[in-house]
């Protein structure tokens, strides 16, 4: 297990380096700069700013400076939020996004696993058809359609919940964004669970257990353990999807998370903020892939050798 962990960690490092290098040069080579304001600054002022932020150095030098900063945990100053470093912005935004993401992950997994198992155990029945319909709807209705509908239904129509805003993380402010974020993934997980559980349920070892008179619950537990593997394998992409989704959700619900910082930062050519977000997201996605591998190894001993 430790060997696996170390091997996967070692494999993640080159990936991370590629992400950093790729996005760094991509951003710098793009036309436009962080100091292109609507009212142009005098050239001398721009020159000074560029020197202040070290943007006058050759690109490779800037890159190594950035890497050196990263190694010290320094993400650099933000260009568009004055007097704030990227780390300051993350300290504000990350709790918002992490709360949203974690709750949405739990909701998506709970809902998806429950509906998927229900459909698989009642295969061909009414519940199966219902889940199939709901799941295909969930996959086809994008979250930027769900969000305004929820806003108008529960926010404006019934006036049960606030339409947007963070409100210091108050539970009622979280409900709609978390549902929006979780629903498409819940649909995906439900489909996946149904397919893989249906495949496991017809296998000989399950039939044997049924024949031996094991209780339904016990058979179900055995089957689920095997059926969980494909679901666990999607944890990494799922985490990436939640982060992508949070860009939309944070924009629509006006939440001060990193997804929104990222879009604003990109629009303002805030090099360090965009870089910082990409690095952060890459680390998170890699971490989730790692966790998924570890859970898979725990569920299925055959995976430990891989």
């Amino acid at each position: 297990m430790t060997a696996l962990l170390l091997r996967r960690l070692a494999q993640s490092l080159p990936t991370l380096f590629l992400v950093i290098a790729g996005s760094f040069f991509l951003i710098r080579l793009a036309p436009g700069g962080p100091f292109d304001l609507e009212r142009p600054l005098p050239p001398a002022a721009i020159e000074n700013l560029r020197r202040l932020y070290g943007l006058d150095a050759p690109l490779p030098v800037q890159f190594f400076r950035y890497l050196a900063g990263l190694a010290r945990g320094d993400l650099g100053p933000s260009f568009s939020f004055r007097d704030l470093t990227v780390a300051d912005l993350f300290a504000r935004g990350l709790p918002v996004s992490a709360t949203l993401g974690a709750l949405a992950l739990v909701l998506a997994l709970t809902l998806g696993l429950a509906l998927g198992s229900l459909a698989a155990f009642r295969r061909g029945g009414l519940a199966d058809r219902f889940v199939g319909l709901v799941a295909s709807l969930g996959l086809a209705v994008p979250n930027f359609v769900i969000a305004p509908l929820l806003q108008i239904g529960f926010g404006l129509g019934l006036a049960w919940l606030p339409v947007g805003g963070w409100g210091g993380g108050a539970p009622q402010n979280l409900v709609l964004p978390v549902i929006t974020l979780a629903l498409p993934h819940a649909a995906g997980i439900a489909r996946l669970t149904r397919a893989s559980l249906a495949e496991v349920l017809v296998q000989p070892h399950i039939r044997t257990q049924r024949a031996m008179g094991f209780s339904r619950a016990r058979v179900a537990r055995h089957a689920l353990r095997g059926a969980l593997l494909p679901v666990v394998a999607t944890l990494g992409p799922l985490a990436a999807g939640l982060m992508t989704g949070s860009v939309v959700v944070e924009t629509i619900f006006g939440l001060p998370g990193i997804g929104r910082y990222f879009v604003d930062g990109a629009l303002n050519r805030d090099y360090t903020l965009v870089m910082g977000t990409v690095v952060l997201v890459a680390v998170l996605v890699l971490a989730f892939n790692l966790i998924a591998d570890l859970i898979a190894a725990w569920l299925d001993p055959r995976m430990r050798a891989a």
């Binding site: 993640s12 080159p14 990936t15 590629l18 992400v19 790729g22 996005s23 991509l26 951003i27 793009a30 036309p31 436009g32 295909s136 709807l137 996959l139 086809a140 209705v141 994008p142 930027f144 359609v145 969000a147 305004p148 509908l149 806003q151 108008i152 404006l156 990494g236 992409p237 990436a240 982060m243 992508t244 860009v247 939309v248 924009t251 629509i252 990222f262 879009v263 990109a266 629009l267 050519r269 965009v274 977000t277 990409v278 997201v281 890459a282 996605v285 890699l286 892939n289």
Partner: protein, 361 residues
Amino acid sequence: MSASLTALARRRLARDRGAVAALIALLAITLACLIGPFLTGHAPERIYPDFVRTRPSLAAHPTPDEIRPALDRLAQRMRVTLAEMHREGGQVRLTLTASKPIDPRNLVLLPRSDLFGPATIVERSPDGQKLVVEAPVRRLHFLLGTDMLGRDLLTRCLVAGRVSLLIGLVATLVALSLGVAYGAVSGLIGGGLDALMMRVVDILYALPFVFFVIVLLVFFRAGLWLVLVAVAAVEWLDMARIVRTQTLSLKSRDFIRAAYALGSGTGAVLVRHAVPNTLGPIIAAATLLVPRVILLESFLSFLGLGVQEPATSWGVLIAEGARALEAAPWMLAAPAGFLVVTLMALNRLGDGLSDALDPRL
């Protein structure tokens, strides 16, 4: 793949009622997007200032209760008083009065208003201060209503559908060619190159690609072609994996060995034997890729990074609709309806195809 296998798959698909319905729905939507805009009677960019935010309805516009307020506005602009109004059939008969002689040239405002045709003067008082005119009432249909500027939503949805479907198809084709080429080469050559190529795919898989795409679109001016390239660049990985697995299992089969034994080069074996034989799963995967591409495009357009005005896509229209949701809910419902039906149909068809093309069944 032998002909009998293809025929078998076709027969299986034809028996799958859901997949057939999905296919019919897709054909209908595609056809509607291609020729529909010529049949709705409105140009997609045509603005009707008198019909801003009209509700969807089957009735012809102007409706009886739209005529009076519109006429009052027109009378004000003509500096006359609307003394009387009769409506008979498709005509209105108006009695206009003013304290000064009325300039008949002002009547040109009537046909300019989208509601009425050219007016004819029926009666004119000797002092010119009273005018009786007749004008035909136009009959305009806005089946799905109009948007904030007064543009016909149905026409716009159909025109937007062309862009969304085009992006879906072209980006899928690009991702498909990339993935097929990459996967086939990797699987067929095998060995160290295969390991290296798959390692690259693994690395790319782990990247938060959508963030890359956003960076790309923001920093290098967004546009239709960049969206295409960006989406294709994200989505070819699955295809490469599927094709590689297929090729690997094919490689040790007798007919591939026979081709090599007959002296075919690697390239010829690839093109003539490996690729055609992996087509089944690839077709199914590609069908499932189209909705993902369309969804990704609308996601980018929703953020304002995708297709730019005056071009439009379902994502752009949904973004507009989401902003106007309270005042005009149909502006969200119409494009979202098109998008959701298309995505559901594509997903259903893809599922049906992968069942039908599965040789194990």
